[in-house]
Amino acid sequence: MKQLIFFTLQEVINARLFRLMLLAPMVLSLLALTFTGLFMLDLGKVFVDSMFTTAHILCFAFLMFMTVPFLARDIEARFTYVLLTLPINRNQYLIGRFLGLTMAFLLLISALAVVSVLSLELTQFIWDDLYMASANAGNIILGIALISCQYLSLMAVALFVFSWATGPAEVLSFTFLIWLLSWIFPPVLTAMQDADVAETVPPLLQAFLEGCYQLLPHLTGGDIANRLAHGASLSGSDISLYIAEHTAYTVILLILSTLLFRRRNL
């Protein structure tokens, strides 16, 4: 399985798109600096917001343009047959693929973290400390790490869809739908706590959303991004709960994927 992990990593690194993605943080951080320059007072907060946006763009690009086509190609080109002829079982094949992709993803995230810290250093020559007070390297790195946790669970979603999908279109559309749901649903639950918003939603739907709000952890990615952008620190329990939540999603999806893939008629 170790060989398959490194084989997958090699495949991703050799892809031209991935190399371009490794360069993208530099261009995106320049855009972030330009965007920050449009504001007046809270420049540190805007800069951190821009870096988190960059992280989401890169993670989304890796999910939709690297992970999904990569897995879809395994179905379409029947590449699975070639790999399964090696002395590995189906579970090892699936987990090996996932870990290889995860390693490439972590490489991308590390590049982004380095560029973000360098860009933050650059801002000290452009703007006064007074305006940049809320931005600090620790919070930026922590924010990027937590965003990547969320996308790791979305990569597990892509793998789960791959384990039963019949073609690339299914992998692409289902993964995108779940990404969209994860983008929209938690902010809606948080927004529902506002009296103006609650008024606009029919009572039955309101009860359903309130039920979901009570069931799910209240600390969303959006809240974390806002807190870190304002220079506030997150408590250890908040960080571990958030990581535990997304690790749990990832593990559950991996278990389901292996169960489905084992019974799949190839």
Binding site: F39, K45, V46, I184, V188, A198, G222, A229
Partner: protein
Amino acid sequence: MKRISQWAMLPVLLAVAIISLAIARQAQPPAETSIIVKPYTSTGYDKLIRSMQAGMLPGLGADLATLEIFSGFYQFTHNSKELSQQPLRESIYRSFVISQFLDPQFLDTYRLTEGILAYGLNMPEQAVELLERGSQQLDHWETPFMASFIAYDQLHDLDRAIALAQLAGEKSDVPPLIIGYTARLINNTLGTDFAIKYLEERKRRLHKGYQQGIEKRIIKLKETQNAITSKS
């Protein structure tokens, strides 16, 4: 050789395209600024839709709403048509509400509330409400202080101004100015002199493009002061 000549043609064609575009632009009459005010149903829907759009990046949503305030105010100051002024003012106010809703701790929103909403757009009631809500979220004396001054200067609501000044006094790192200000408010001895000095200080901190409203208020206060002096 043929290949080289093909490449050499590229900058020539590019130059021709740029020159043609420049000539075409020169020939065109200047386009009228058209004002598009976004469709609006209710504050709740507005907040819900913007939360969905911003998703995991509410801070970015607030930043974009602030940029809408900048562009809306630019249109407001450069548009002479009376008819479109009112919907535009309301649209800018909604951007303030959204920006605060998505990121209640974003300081630029509050700075603009004072410069644009209270004085530029002449919506002091809405400005004080917004700053009051912000004061509950921020441990920052400046926000309730701004609200207190607007309540005193524009709304002439002394009780509200005193309550907000006292709230400013409860925040951390309060300068001695607040204690003096609150005392003078309670004794109702603030006067136009203080108001002018305060507004001049605030104006100095704002970008030139957003000083217009405060400038108008300073002129008005100076006129009142002169009238009082000449009477006495």
